[in-house]
């Protein structure tokens, strides 16, 4: 077994286990339904993954710094509802920055609680999940939000527009991924995020302002959520209060599927993008194959575990865990 992992193929697996897993799924689904690789379908999957993807980019920062963010789904509902409501009141040009500001305030609150007060992020964001949901309901009075003039607004460009044949949401997702990927991999700030997540005490001993770094990761996360809310609102020009509900676990699954460790200190933006695409293609592929939704649940379970297993098996160089 040890031999295998140091051979050429094994080496590839070890470095890019998750990519290999991705390739295998794609081949499997294509065999099952030839339309799977249809360019329109692929474009469609990427486009509808873009919203989840944008949120996952932000959560990647949070997870690498050793925390969790379960509030993103509920926060996304908030952004969507707010921007839709403000669109008709103050116009899109003001609504968008206003919505971003409000969402960033929520992110700052979480960042303050987790970073500066050092409260446990799972519980803080779980609490915020609930509190923000309450806030959204209060804001909207429980009603759906819809833009009155759906045809006449340029607001739809973010969710529905195209540039050179590419849907704008995909472009925004990829541009943001590239930007944040570089921030994480190449800047001093990115380095600090890894250090804080890898060993917070050692980071403090190295003169890193840990609280500030954690605070910043939640700001980034909330900025991503606001972007996702914008895409969502612009895509459908109307929304329910529950639009993002439950997405927090999907987002987390994508980030982890990409190989980020919940203990912090590891993961990359590139891998998260792969994780997002895997989730998107699994859902789409299973729909195309025509499985009942509950069979999809079971298959998704198996695929998630296989993918992560393959990834860590490659990293440790053996299939089975060494734990006795």
């Amino acid at each position: 077994m040890a031999r295998f992992w140091s051979s050429g193929l094994g080496g590839l697996l070890a470095r890019q286990g998750i990519l290999v897993a991705f390739a295998l799924f794609m081949i499997g689904f294509t065999l099952a339904n030839h339309r799977f690789l249809d360019p329109d379908n692929i474009m469609g999957v990427v486009r509808s993954s873009a919203i989840l993807g944008v949120m996952a980019l932000g959560v990647t920062f949070v997870v690498i710094s050793g925390n969790l963010d379960l509030s993103v789904g509920s926060m996304m509902s908030f952004s969507t509802i707010v921007v839709l409501d403000l669109h008709d009141r103050i116009g899109p040009a003001l609504a968008i920055p206003a919505m971003f500001a409000m969402t960033l305030v929520l992110g700052a609150i979480i960042g303050f609680l987790v970073g500066y007060l050092k409260l446990n992020s799972l519980i803080v964001t779980l609490g915020m999940l609930s509190a923000i949901h309450g806030l959204t309901l209060t804001y909207s009075g429980g009603k759906n939000m819809d833009i009155a003039d759906k045809e006449g607004t340029w607001f739809s460009v973010f969710g529905q527009g195209e540039i050179l044949g590419f849907p704008v949401p995909i472009l925004i997702f990829l541009a943001l991924a590239a930007f944040l990927g570089i921030v994480l991999a190449r800047t001093p700030f990115g380095r600090k995020v890894y250090a804080v997540g890898g060993n917070g005490v050692a980071a403090t001993f190295s003169g890193i302002r840990r609280a500030r770094v954690v605070f910043a990761t939640y700001l980034i996360s909330s900025a991503c959520v606001a972007t996702a809310g914008l895409l969502q609102a612009s895509r459908s020009l109307g929304s329910q209060n529950t639009v993002g509900q439950g997405m927090e676990l999907e987002v987390l699954a994508a980030v982890i599927l990409g190989g980020a460790s919940l203990l912090g200190g590891s993961g990359t933006i590139f891998k998260t993008v792969i994780g997002v695409l895997i989730l998107g293609f699994i859902q789409n592929g299973l729909l195309l194959v025509g499985l009942q939704f509950y069979a999809q649940y079971v298959v998704t379970w198996i695929i998630i575990i296989l993918a992560v297993w393959l990834d860590i098996a490659a990293k440790r160089g053996r299939l089975w865990s060494p734990i006795a």
Binding site: I182, R186, T187, Y194, A202, A203, T204, G207
Partner: protein, 507 residues
């Protein structure tokens, strides 16, 4: 202890590779019953790896293990334990939230019916062991509340739980002070008379000559031979270990007092330490010596902005400063090599280079980005200077040997070119060659006008590098010596308090 008896333990042709590293390359050696067998080698030579193979933690790629001349397979730590191998680890391997007794008997708590813990037996058995170790804590103490040295004693207590065939001590004294060392050596002597084979890993020559019978030497994962302790010399051993002669001559230098770089007046922090006043001049090395728990680490942490003083003031170059965080300290030119490399010094999941440049990553930039070239340059410089053994800068810090990890931490803070450098137990777990290199580095820094504080529990080290030594007892400075007036006796007297009992560490 010669070869007429059958060896209790024998390793033959052990090979172990990690990705990119051939950690062991055909190592063979054997241990007689009742023998203390030293295993020596530079940092990263493969000592711990060899012992982990023996302890069932790693599986060897090739080679075999024999106990009482019968080949065995050590499938797991449990398996090794069942076959009579007790392993005292280099890195503390304790559950901090549990009591001392539970840690000593971890994995084999005495049971009553229905899987209940027999608390009475547990605590009694543990108390008996602790008594042999002459420690001042009880079986019920939470391990997390103990000092590192006492935690190390808890590890050592595990060796006495069983009738073992062989006991492995992997650098047990790295964080012990002399008093506890004496106890440990008594324990080892006792095991010896019971015919137990003992493998003893240490970088400290005086211990090797004091307690071992034979010495096997590893270099770069290969076996270099076995020496009989009584018939060899320090020079011969180091020759074997590093393949060249080492100049161990003492390096005493006249005190050249520059301006005062750091002055501390009446500093106190709760009941951790009180009334601390001292000066460190430019170009001077000041040693802090004291028993474990004397409060030296806490002073260093306060100077580095990690604790808030409750009284007193700190002055740098004659100006009073407030240091509220390590960020402030670093900005003011203070560096701290912390006591605990795994918890405080390193991000184990990060590579060696990134660890080394972490405190200055903001300055190593080209535009908005971290400059690869600048980082690698720093890493290469200190790797060469400190002789760090790693396949490359991409190796994760967690995969380095203990000594090499320590060197990364030292490199990290030396590369900051600090005005005031504080090093807390700087050579814990460092091999002889590198140790003298680090000592030279410290002297060298001082010669360039830096002020250096060395906190160490090793008397030879303190004596060797310091221009002045400050002795502490129970949170207070008891005495200050210049290099000229110091003797071992005076020092011991100064750190042991008046009535001979240390109050603080009694927990």
């Amino acid at each position: 202890m010669s070869g007429q008896q059958a060896p209790v333990l024998r390793l033959e042709g052990i090979v172990k590779t990690f990705p990119g590293v051939r950690a062991l390359d055909g190592v063979s050696f054997s241990v007689q019953p009742g023998e203390v067998h030293a295993l020596m080698g530079e940092n990263g030579a493969g000592k711990s790896t060899l012992m982990k193979v023996l302890g069932g933690i790693h599986q060897p790629d090739e080679g075999r293990i024999l106990i009482d001349e019968k080949p065995v397979v050590m499938a797991s730590p449990l398996d090794a334990k069942a076959k009579g191998i007790v392993f005292i680890h280099q890195e503390l391997s304790l559950a901090r939230e549990l009591s001392v007794a539970e840690n000593v008997f971890l994995g084999e708590l005495p049971r009553k019916a229905f899987g209940l813990v027999d608390w009475k037996k547990l605590n009694d058995d543990c108390a008996a062991i602790l008594e042999k170790l002459r420690v001042r804590f009880t079986p019920q103490t939470r391990v997390g509340d103990l000092s590192i040295a006492n935690q190390q004693m808890v590890e050592i207590a595990r060796a006495l739980v069983h009738e073992a065939k062989a006991v492995i001590f992997d650098e047990p004294t790295a964080s012990l002070t002399d008093a506890e060392k004496v106890v440990l050596f008594d324990v080892i002597a006792d095991l010896k008379t019971h015919g137990v084979g003992i493998i003893y890993i240490s970088h400290r020559m005086e211990e090797i000559f004091r307690i071992t019978d034979r010495i096997s030497v590893l270099r770069d994962g290969t076996y270099r031979g076995t020496l009989v302790t009584a018939e060899t010399t320090e020079e011969e051993i180091t020759q074997q270990m590093i393949g060249r002669k080492l100049d161990l001559t003492r390096n005493i230098r006249p005190v050249e007092t520059g301006d005062v770089a750091l002055e501390v007046r009446g500093l106190a922090c709760g009941d951790l330490f009180q009334d601390i006043s001292f000066k460190v001049h430019k170009g001077e090395v000041v040693g802090f010596y004291g028993l474990v728990g004397a409060g030296r680490t806490e002073i260093a942490e306060t100077l580095f902005g990690l604790r808030t003083p409750t009284a007193g003031s700190i002055h740098l170059d004659g100006n009073e400063v407030t240091i509220e965080s390590p960020v402030d300290a670093i900005r003011l030119g203070i560096s701290l090599v912390p006591e605990n490399r795994k918890e405080q010094g390193l991000v184990l999941s990060m590579n060696c280079r990134d660890n080394m440049t972490l405190p200055q990553v903001d300055d190593l930039t080209a535009g908005p980005f971290v400059s690869d070239g600048a980082e690698v340059a720093i890493f290469d410089q200190y790797r060469d200077r400190l002789d760090i053994k790693t396949p490359g800068w991409r190796q994760l810090a967690g995969n380095l040997s203990g000594g090499n990890q320590q060197k990364i931490v030292i490199g990290k803070w030396l590369s900051m070119k600090p005005e005031v450098l504080i090093v807390d137990e700087p050579t814990r777990g460092i091999d002889v060659g590198s140790k003298s290199e680090i000592h030279n580095l410290i002297r060298d820094l001082a010669a360039h006008g830096y002020a250096v504080i060395v906190i160490s529990s090793e008397m030879p080290e303190v004596l060797h590098v310091s221009d002045r030594v400050i002795a502490m007892y129970s949170g207070r400075i008891t005495k200050e010596f210049t290099a000229a007036e110091i003797t071992e006796d005076k020092l011991i007297q100064a750190i042991s308090g008046l009535n001979g009992s240390s109050g603080k560490d009694a927990a």
